[in-house]
């Protein structure tokens, strides 16, 4: 599973770590996140992420 980085804030979504501050447990691929999922740091849309 790939890590994705937010092109606005630089936050990295790491599927092996999940998103503790969004109560999102590890193990979910970025592609499987809902389309309205947002960066937990700057709230940019999912579309602003690119593969790290």
């Amino acid at each position: 599973m790939d890590r994705y980085v937010c092109t606005i804030s630089g936050h990295v979504y790491d599927p092996e770590k999940g998103e503790p501050r969004l109560d999102l447990p590890p193990g979910k691929a970025f592609e499987e996140l809902q389309n309205d999922w947002q960066c937990p740091v700057c709230f940019a849309d999912k579309s602003k992420f690119v593969k790290a």
Partner: protein, 394 residues
């Protein structure tokens, strides 16, 4: 201040702030700034586009009163930041029948930042139009050209673009229009570096969109009005591109002279190899100038002495700032000196996580640079020249 007509029935009603010397309590303003607000009169309705910094709200109101404006129907807010939206509560108090016009994200920010009542806002979407009778405003959402809610407004019939922060610059001047493009280029590039550079990739997507509108005039929210939009659009196209120049930016601090000697040697070695160098002694550097130089430099070399096992705090500050401004720099390295130990280079390299750089081997030495240190600096200059040749800029 005094309201001025930029086209028939369209007035600049903003405020000039000749005295302001610092923005965001961070960035020096060598030329002061202005907060531009514009009044557009249509045959049926009157719109105000953006407001001014709240410390100048009375000037805006006086401008409107002196123009004899008894009613404002719409207040378009292109950006929720306080230096443009901050006088909205006062304007709404003076013109209670006015409707605030902006996008959904901006409405939420106006509620949070200025406690504007959500029901006073008319929400617009990308491409929506608003008729003023014989004039039409058209809104385009341009998120992440500074903030997530940023939008631009186009006055269709007069072909005037009101882009708020985009394409403007900090300058207080009695001149209503840009008169000297070379001077304006410099000020606009500095502004881009400080405010827009982190959003380079988002802005790139909007430049063609703005060109397609073919604006006759750009009326930004800081600085004079631009009657030659091509000038600023071409400049932005250059800055947001991936092209870098044959330049090394060299921010440094030296406490006892060792790092200074290394900086002097590296500067000479780079000049000898045909590479331009911009050293900045951070003890007396205007950080806006440092940001300006980072807009299109290919390489940054951070030069630091060692304070308590790490880099000098002034260097940490500049590196943090350079990293969050996300310049398109391709190569980075660290040079410096220590007395008894430390890991200054590792700390600096770790801080550069927002920029995609290839790190060239640092040169960190003990004490005053000796012959071996100078050889190592020559090696770094060789590495930089080689990299610049590889990407075709030397």
């Amino acid at each position: 201040m005094v309201a001025r007509e930029i086209a028939k029935g369209i007035f600049w009603v903003g405020a000039l702030d000749f005295d302001r010397r610092l923005f965001d309590e961070l960035i020096p303003l060598p030329e002061g700034t202005s907060y531009n607000s514009y009044l557009v009169r249509g045959s049926e309705k009157t719109a105000l586009i953006d407001t001014v910094d709240p410390k100048k709200e009375e000037e805006l109101i006086v401008n409107l009163i002196k123009l004899g404006i008894e009613q404002i129907d719409y207040i378009v807010i292109n950006h929720a930041e306080q230096d443009h939206a901050g006088s909205l509560p006062m304007v709404l108090e003076m013109y209670p029948r006015a409707k605030v016009v902006t996008n959904e994200k901006c409405r939420d920010l106006l509620v949070a930042l200025l406690q504007i009542a959500p029901e006073s806002v008319m929400v617009v979407k990308d491409g929506d139009t608003l008729s003023l009778g014989d004039r039409t405003l058209r809104f385009f959402l341009t998120p992440w050209t500074h903030w997530p809610e940023t939008q631009i407004t186009f006055l269709v019939e007069d072909k005037i673009l009101f882009p708020c922060d985009l394409f403007g610059f900090h300058q207080a001047t009695s001149e209503l229009y840009i008169t000297n493009e070379a001077d304006a280029y410099r000020s606009a590039k500095r502004y881009y570096a400080e405010i827009m550079m982190p959003f380079r990739n988002s802005i790139r997507g909007y430049i063609q969109k703005v060109r397609d509108l073919d604006p006759a005039m750009i009326a930004p929210s800081h600085g004079p009005v631009n009657k030659n939009p091509k000038f600023i659009l071409d400049a932005y196209a250059e800055w947001v591109s991936d092209d870098v120049k044959n330049v090394v930016v060299l921010p440094y601090i030296s406490m006892h002279g060792s790092t200074q000697k290394m900086v002097d040697h590296l500067t000479g070695a780079l000049i000898q190899r045909g590479v331009d160098v911009k050293p900045f002694n951070l003890t007396h550097t205007d950080i806006g100038e440092l940001a300006y130089s980072l807009v299109d430099a290919a390489t940054v070399v951070v030069a630091t002495p060692t304070v308590l096992f790490g880099p000098h705090p002034q260097i940490v500050y500049a590196t943090y700032l350079a990293n969050v401004l996300k310049p398109k720099v391709r190569f980075a390295s660290v040079i410096g000196s220590f007395g008894w130990g430390g890991k200054a280079a590792e700390t600096i390299v770790k801080m550069l996580d927002h920029v995609k750089v290839e790190v060239l081997e640092p040169v960190v030495i003990k004490g005053l640079p000796d012959e071996a240190a100078l050889v190592a600096l020559n090696r770094l200059a060789d590495d930089i020249a080689k990299k610049h040749k590889e990407i075709g800029i030397l």
